[in-house]
């Protein structure tokens, strides 16, 4: 078949109809991934505004700018928003977009579930922010420790809204994790055996397993909390035989792996950028994959280090010290592998690579302070102080946001078909890097000087005023850097230079198709013969023949060697995922007010699911 004719037929089969109906019913993983990414960045901007408000209040002692009630809502919103509505979703959003392209398939597994997960995430985010706007935002901290978040000490609906928002975002995160696992295991291009999977895809695979294993813990916790609050159970009430520390175990059994759920995708992004901008494969592929898996396993063995001062038996604490410190080994291994890659490669100093350099500088500090807080005695002095605030911003902003911003600059052409500005990119990197360090480094000192976290003000006698003022001013520099990034992204998406298919000379499959890719991703599915299929090839990639063009069809391959196994039909656009998400959201929000919502609210959900799964008939039978 002629190329033009093939494209025309595939587009007719795979494209999304124009207009509002198309926007609401599409299941195209690229449209949903882009939409997801943009939404997550909107939440990042909102969370950043909250951070600036907090810094305004803390710039001076005994300031009266924001009272304690609103301040507690603001820091709770900042943490919950950044963790649940930005950091985890944005990584998964990038994966929704990139993973199918990087493994060379036409679509993500379970496309309708994918659409459903976006609508759930959006509804959960809106619930939280609308509640905050009407002064019903949660005020219990993003960690929501009982009994402070329990029925006795958190009156009103604030804590219920927090707990339900958790359920929304976890439903969404779990759905995506399942999609990614199946896409990676069963839909890779023929020839992409396990040792030819790009490192970013590996990192998302490990991350997805972390999500599947960790998220149920927080869902159990938040559900028990809701039951305590609404139905009168006593899971966390010591007066009735419940246990306060049960909450902390459940929360941190999720909460610490959460850090790696955010960090591991970033590691994958760094590997992609390093390989492209040093013009050679990342050194130690096998070691990198092993480090990802080791980090994933160890991530479940260190939650207790958040509870060193809660009064647990000392022997248990020793074990968790050792495992918390041990996780520095795979992290160190990865850093050394990237350094070796840079050493042996020929670095090109473009914006994505600058963010990677910034990442190494900042993240190593965050990792070292992580070793510090893993030590029980050290932790008894810095736990719940600004030292910890500094530490985890070094890990999360340095370890995840820097790589993410680099990744946006790197994949922007693939996402939008246009390039971002190199000049603005350098400026925003400079402002973000310097603003970040000026803002967060002094917090280590404040913590050692005894400033606790989560205080809305402090007394003038305390020796903290100078540094706090300095930090607040530095925060403006950091915010300016992000503002510049947003301006650049919005401007470039509309009018940046048109990007070729492979503007950076990268070697993974997503660059083998046009920028942005067509609705069907690849006109002819590629066959992979090496880890870097696009590098040093003068001849075109091998391709797969024989898939139908008049219906949505995917190639299914074997888990280990990615040998072609079957053709599988993929579902088309549908409005039912949106309706199912609306029904589920209505039930979850309604249940804050009455437990009967679970009964009556299930009916519309059942209707929506019947519509969603209504048999369409197998095209194979007809032919």
């Amino acid at each position: 078949m002629e190329a033009g004719e093939l494209d025309r037929r595939l587009a007719a089969t795979w494209s999304t109809p124009p207009g509002l109906w198309g926007a609401l019913s599409t299941v195209d993983h690229k449209i949903i991934g882009r939409r997801y990414t943009v939404t997550a960045f909107v939440f990042l901007a909102l969370g950043g505004v909250l951070a600036l408000l907090m810094r305004l209040q803390l710039a001076q002692p005994e300031a009266r700018f924001i009272g304690p009630d609103r301040y507690n809502q603001i820091f709770t919103m900042h943490g919950s928003n950044m963790m649940f509505l930005f950091a985890v979703p944005v990584m998964q959003a990038m994966a929704i977009y990139l993973v199918p392209l990087m493994v060379g398939t036409r679509h993500i597994a379970f496309p309708r579930l994918n659409a459903f997960s976006y609508w759930m995430y959006l509804a959960g985010g809106l619930l939280l922010w609308i509640a905050f706007a009407v002064d019903t935002g949660p005020d219990i901290g993003w960690f929501a420790y009982v009994p402070l978040s329990g029925p006795q000490y958190a009156a009103g609906k604030r804590a219920d809204i927090w707990a339900q928002m958790i359920t929304f975002t976890e439903v969404s995160a779990l759905a995506i994790a399942v999609e990614i696992v199946v896409t990676v295991f069963k839909q890779r291009a023929p020839g992409m055996s396990l040792d030819r999977i790009p490192l970013f895809v590996w990192s998302m695979l490990v991350t997805s397993f972390l999500v599947i294993l960790a998220m149920p813990a927080i869902m159990i916790a938040s559900t028990s909390l809701i039951l305590d609050r609404l139905v009168g159970t006593h899971f966390f009430n010591p007066a009735e035989g419940g246990d306060v520390l049960l909450w902390q175990h459940l929360f941190w059994f999720f909460g610490h792996p959460e850090v790696y759920i955010i960090f591991l995708p970033a590691v994958g992004m760094v590997s992609s950028i390093v390989a492209t901008f040093t013009q050679r494969p990342v050194f130690g592929y096998l070691a990198m994959v092993m480090a990802l898996i080791a980090t994933g396993v160890l991530a479940f063995g260190l939650w207790v280090h958040h509870m060193f001062v809660a009064g647990l038996p000392r022997l248990g604490e020793s074990f968790f010290t050792a495992s918390s410190m041990a996780i520095a080994v795979p992290a160190g291994l990865q850093i050394f592998c990237w350094l070796a890659t840079i050493w042996a490669g020929r670095p090109i100093f473009k914006t994505p690579f600058l963010f990677v350099i910034g990442f190494i500088v900042v993240f190593v500090i965050g990792g070292l302070t992580g070793v510090m807080v893993a030590s029980v005695p050290f932790d008894t002095q810095v736990h719940d102080t600004y030292f910890v605030v500094a530490h985890f911003h070094y890990v999360l902003v340095g370890g995840a946001v820097f790589p993410l911003l680099g990744a946006i600059y790197y994949w922007f052409p693939k996402l939008t078909g246009r390039m971002m500005s190199e000049t603005l990119g350098r400026w925003s990197f400079g402002l973000i890097f310097s603003g970040f360090n000026l803002t967060f480094f002094p917090m280590h000192i404040l913590g050692l000087q005894g400033m606790p976290r989560r205080i809305y003000t402090y007394q003038p006698e305390m020796p903290w005023s100078g540094l706090n003022m300095f930090i607040s001013l530095s925060g403006i520099v950091l915010a300016a850097g992000f503002l510049l990034f947003f301006i650049d992204a919005i401007r470039s998406a509309r009018s940046g230079p048109i990007a070729p298919a492979n503007p950076w000379g990268a070697s993974t499959l997503e660059w083998a198709t046009s920028s942005p890719p067509p609705s069907y991703n690849f006109a002819r599915l590629p066959v992979v013969e090496s880890l870097e299929p696009l590098s040093d090839r003068s001849d075109p990639l091998g391709t797969v023949e024989g898939l139908h063009t008049d219906r949505r069809e995917l190639l299914i391959t074997s888990v280990v060697e990615a040998r072609a196994e079957a053709r599988e039909s993929s579902v088309g656009n549908s409005i039912w995922p949106l309706l199912a998400a609306l029904a589920t959201s209505a039930m979850l929000i309604w249940s804050i007010f009455t437990p009967w919502a679970v009964v009556w609210g299930s009916i519309p959900i059942a209707v929506a699911l019947i519509g969603w799964f209504w048999p369409k008939g197998d095209p194979e039978d007809e032919s």
């Binding site: 009272g67 304690p68 507690n72 420790y145 009994p147 402070l148 000490y153 010591p238 007066a239 246990d243 306060v244 520390l245 040093t278 050194f283 130690g284 001062v309 809660a310 009064g311 000392r314 020793s318 010290t321 410190m325 041990a326 160190g332 291994l333 050394f336 592998c337 350094l339 070796a340 840079i342 050493w343 042996a344 020929r346 670095p347 350099i357 190494i360 500088v361 190593v364 500090i365 070292l368 070793v371 510090m372 030590s375 029980v376 005695p377 932790d379 008894t380 002095q381 736990h383 719940d384 050692l448 000087q449 005894g450 606790p452 976290r453 989560r454 205080i455 006698e461 305390m462 020796p463």
Partner: protein
């Protein structure tokens, strides 16, 4: 009567002035000293490691930037270098873990500690209960713990509502107060002084204003303090203070506060039997003076919004007299 307190306060300021009044880096007691050694050791070592990584990064970047003419580094040599770096990392991590274990061992709370004081946290103040030699409670105070210098003191930590965390960095690391699960903490001061601490676990609206003072005194001073605290409140001699007492007992104040030796036996708020002798009121918010007492009683919600003390309507005479009475409760 005021002179000794101001004297004590200024020693406190002297101690705190050069130390940053609640800093982990200015330890004045054995547990805090051990931790400080560990902190300094780990921080210096980490700084060196960070610098080494940065040097490696800079060299790698510079090498790549120079010409492409240099020969490719062999994979074998890279593998050797990376393996060596990982081996060094493992050794350093193991060393830090062992150092941490040894420090932890030195921080255990001896159950034989001569003196045990119960600290019960509430939103947003500290109830401090002293027991007699037979273990029964003899008197209580609030937001201020007196301890003898050079002696191990065991704090029994309890909470009546939410989770709080007891933290006086100059004397020891923090320990949570968890409802339904008493914890304990070893406290030891080597020098007389006033050491400030603060609740470290987010505990609600006024978490910011939940400070605690530990007053470490020479054993003789400490014994005198104990004797004075055991005694009931004296009947006010001054006529203003006497009318203040009458007003206090007639108004809702007595429903929440205890003043031993009077009919006031409320238990919701702090025991005020010897409030005049305390350094601060409202959990470290204000120094105890007549002026600040008046400001606090007249409008507690503006000074510490959301705290549990209601505003009690008083005439200005009543207010003055009550403050005179409070101030007389040494």
């Amino acid at each position: 009567m005021r002179a000794p307190r101001i004297g004590l306060l200024s020693t406190g300021v002297l101690v705190s002035g050069c130390s940053g009044s609640q800093s982990a880096l200015n330890p004045y007691g054995a547990p805090a000293v051990h931790v400080e050694h560990l902190i300094v050791g780990i921080v210096v070592l980490s700084g060196v490691i960070w610098l080494l990584v940065m040097v490696m990064l800079a060299l790698a970047l510079r090498r790549g930037r120079r010409a492409e003419t240099e020969g490719q580094t062999s994979e074998g040599r890279l593998t050797m270098t990376v393996s060596a770096a990982v081996a060094v990392t493992v050794a350093i991590i193991a060393g830090m873990t062992i150092a941490s274990f040894y420090t932890t061992r030195s921080m255990g709370v001896p159950q034989s500690a001569a003196l045990t004081i119960t600290v019960r946290a509430q939103q947003w103040w500290w109830q401090v209960i002293y027991a007699g030699s037979d273990g029964t409670p003899t008197f209580q105070t609030a937001n201020e713990i007196h301890i003898p210098v050079g002696q191990d003191v065991r704090l029994q930590l309890e909470s009546t509502d939410v989770i709080h965390s007891f933290w006086v960095p100059s004397l020891a690391g923090k320990q949570d107060l968890v409802p339904g699960r008493p914890n304990d903490l070893l406290l030891r001061a080597e020098k007389p002084g006033i050491y400030r601490g603060q609740c470290a676990e987010f505990c609600g609206l006024q978490h910011s204003h939940m400070a605690v003072m530990v007053v470490a005194e020479a054993p003789a001073d400490y014994a005198r303090w104990i004797t004075s605290q055991r005694a009931d409140a004296k009947m006010p001699a001054d006529p203003d203070a006497a009318s203040g007492q009458a007003a206090f007992l007639a108004k809702p104040c007595a429903a929440c506060h205890t003043i031993r030796g009077t009919q006031a036996t409320g238990t919701t708020g702090p025991d005020l039997t010897h409030i005049g002798s305390r350094q601060t009121i409202a959990a470290g918010l204000l120094e105890t003076t007549r002026g600040s007492l008046a400001a606090w009683i007249a409008d507690p919600q503006t000074l510490k919004p959301g705290n549990n003390m209601p505003m009690v309507p008083l005439t200005s005479i009543e207010l003055q007299n009550i403050c005179a009475y409070m101030d007389s409760l040494k």
